[in-house]
Amino acid sequence: MLVNVKGLVKRYDKLVALDYLDLQVEEGEIFGLLGPNGSGKTTAINCILSLIRYDKGSIEIFGKPMKPNAYDIKRNIGIIMQNVAVFEELTVYENIYYFCSLYIKDKIEVKRLTREAIEFVSMEDYADFYPKKLSGGLLRRLNIACGIAHKPKLIILDEPTVAVDPQSRNKILEGIKKLNAEGATIIYTSHYMEEVEQICSKIAIIDKGRVIAQGTKEELKAMISLGEKITMELYELPEKNINELKEFPGIYSVEYHENLLEIKSAKGRNNLIHILDYMAKNNIIFGKVYTELPTLNDVFLEITGKELRD
């Protein structure tokens, strides 16, 4: 176990930010911490890094208790904050060099690692640029380079793609996968379920400071009853037909509004053929038809009763 968080409680006056939070991160994983804004993701990260005090619980990293002065643990952690944390007065190269030199004593090694980090984030052409001259996406890449230059074993990324253009986002996500392939364990927090689904090998869904579900994305989706979501474009659908569709075996939700029919069915039921057959027999004209497998948002919705984006 690389990171073991047990019963973590953090209160801000009357607000309970972390409510007996438990997290276990294995070596080599890309561990996704998924939850809406204000669910406690960043607070959990700050506690794990010993940046803030917590009221109860224990945190172990690399098998040792994490404390503010646990320098041997911190030496192997890389942190990429939600907001860009660099010095405006230093160039791209100098920023990476500076933060790397906080971890590595050998100057030659720091220089080598700095160059590698610049290559990793594809910023060779911007090495002498000051941060204020960089675009938002490039700034994010610099932020990442500053956090990973010292080749940490554990990298914590706290919503690194917020307000980033799609191209830079893809680069960042590819970079994370590459870091993981090179041996780093990743903790990745986000409220973008697509990103988490795309890169994480294990996911913890967090809400109101508690882990409400944990596992691989397949395991999480298996936890809910929804198996398939069928959507059809219809110009008209009488109430009688809606009620008849509801009687189909395995279908537990039929909703029709704004010319869209949404049918949710349980796992293991291939209802599409039966529905198309019903439409044909009843001369119901329909347009586009598409089916979707459940997403993490559906998981979140089924467990909490609200959308991830709420």
Partner: protein, 404 residues
């Protein structure tokens, strides 16, 4: 590693244009403005040679009547005062010889007739004219400094002439006792010693600017805390998550700030001394020592505020600026009378005001022979620095925060 962090921080500080402006450039602009303003205020108006006309060998009474048509009744009365005294054309030679300086005569005299003199006065080509003779008469067009000088000169000449004549009549032997020398010579009863400069309130303003610059270091001290504390900035959070001792990093950064700041103070001092020619006296080493102490106190004060005031960085910055300006105001930066008033009415406030301690130490070096007052100020300043050091030490010892 520490040396590398120190130099990197120095690089950061010297590239921070805002910090450089307020610490390096603004005090220079301020002192230059003060210098320009003060040089106008302090400059003695330079006397120029006065153009007059002198009328020789005409009947005084007729001329007086003629002149009376050209000048006012008041001026005629003034001329009458002078004219009643006994005079000769010797006055002309005395006036010709009178000098303002080695190469500058007091009067530019045109010899002319009375009519020409009246014309010249009317046109404004001369300030006054004198009709010589036994009873010289002075005619002016309007009252002014130059007219007053001419009148005083003629009055003085006439008085001395009468006095000498009276003495010659009553006691001719007095001539051998140096009485004439006594009459001609002047004695100044004001003594200016070598050590004590003449009182100069203007220099206090320059001291106040130097002191303000020293205490401005508090902004840099605060910046160091913001950069290192996780609850103050994202950089602070990143640094706090790194395996470097915060105490060591803070010491490196503070040393870098102190280095850069003290350079700004010394540059300002050199600028004032060699470019603006501000007379700081002879004890420059003491002056620099108080600047070093002031800068250190300012830096540590800013750090203490940064550690212990639980507000957002912008609010802390506002507090520091208000505090620095308040201290500078109370130490006479805007009006020197405030400094005297505070020292007299609220001595405790004067003793706990770091800017006042700096200016007072500088003031004492300039005006007083001993160093007692200087050292009292220096010790108080160092005591403050020690208190702020302890406060900063306990501030940085806090390992983590309630929230960030």
């Amino acid at each position: 590693m520490s040396l590398g962090l120190y130099f990197m921080r120095v690089k950061c500080l010297l590239r921070n244009m805002e910090g450089i402006f307020w610490c390096y450039i603004f005090p220079i602009i301020l002192s230059t403005c003060l210098y320009l303003g003060v040089s106008k205020l302090g400059a003695v108006e330079e006397f120029e040679t006065i153009k007059i006309a002198y009328v020789v060998g005409e009947a005084q009474t007729e001329l007086s009547k003629e002149a009376g048509t050209a000048v006012s009744q008041e001026q005629a009365e003034l001329s009458h005062e002078v004219g009643t005294a006994v005079g000769h054309n010797e006055l002309l030679s005395v006036m010709k010889a009178a000098k303002l300086s080695e190469d500058k005569y007091m009067f530019d005299i045109t010899l002319c007739s009375s009519k020409e003199a009246v014309d010249l006065l009317e046109k404004g080509d001369i300030e006054a004219y004198i009709i010589g003779g036994d009873r010289p008469e002075l005619f002016i067009k309007e009252n002014g400094l130059n007219e007053t000088i001419v009148k005083s000169f003629v009055d003085s000449y006439m008085q001395k002439q009468i006095t000498i004549k009276n003495i010659l009549v009553s006691n001719p032997e007095a001539l051998n006792n140096g009485l004439i020398d006594d009459l001609i010579g002047q004695t100044d009863f004001v003594d200016i010693s070598d050590k004590h400069k003449k009182p100069d309130n203007i220099i206090i303003y320059f001291y106040a600017i130097l002191a303000y610059t020293c205490i401005f270091a508090s902004n840099w001290g605060l910046e160091e805390v913001i950069n290192i504390e996780a609850d103050q900035s994202m950089r602070g959070a990143r640094i706090s998550a790194s395996p470097v001792s915060k105490m060591r990093l803070f010491a490196c950064n503070m040393l870098a700030s102190y280095t850069c700041h003290i350079i700004s103070v010394i540059l300002l001092f050199l600028y004032m001394k060699f470019v603006l020619n501000v007379k700081f006296g002879d004890e420059l080493a003491y002056l620099i020592a108080i600047c070093l102490a002031g800068s250190l106190t300012g830096l540590l004060m800013g750090a203490s505020i940064g550690f212990w005031i639980k507000k957002k960085p912008a609010i802390k910055e506002a507090i520091i600026i208000a505090f620095s300006l308040g201290c500078s105001f109370l130490s006479g930066m805007m009006a020197v009378e405030i400094k005297y008033y505070v020292t007299e009415k609220f001595p405790l406030l004067a003793y706990i005001n770091p800017v006042n301690l700096i200016t007072d130490a500088m003031y004492s070096l300039y005006y007083f022979d001993g160093h007692n007052r200087y050292f009292i100020n220096l010790m108080l300043l160092m005591l403050m620095a020690a208190v702020f050091t302890v406060a900063s030490y306990f501030g940085i010892r806090r390992r983590n925060h309630d929230s960030i």
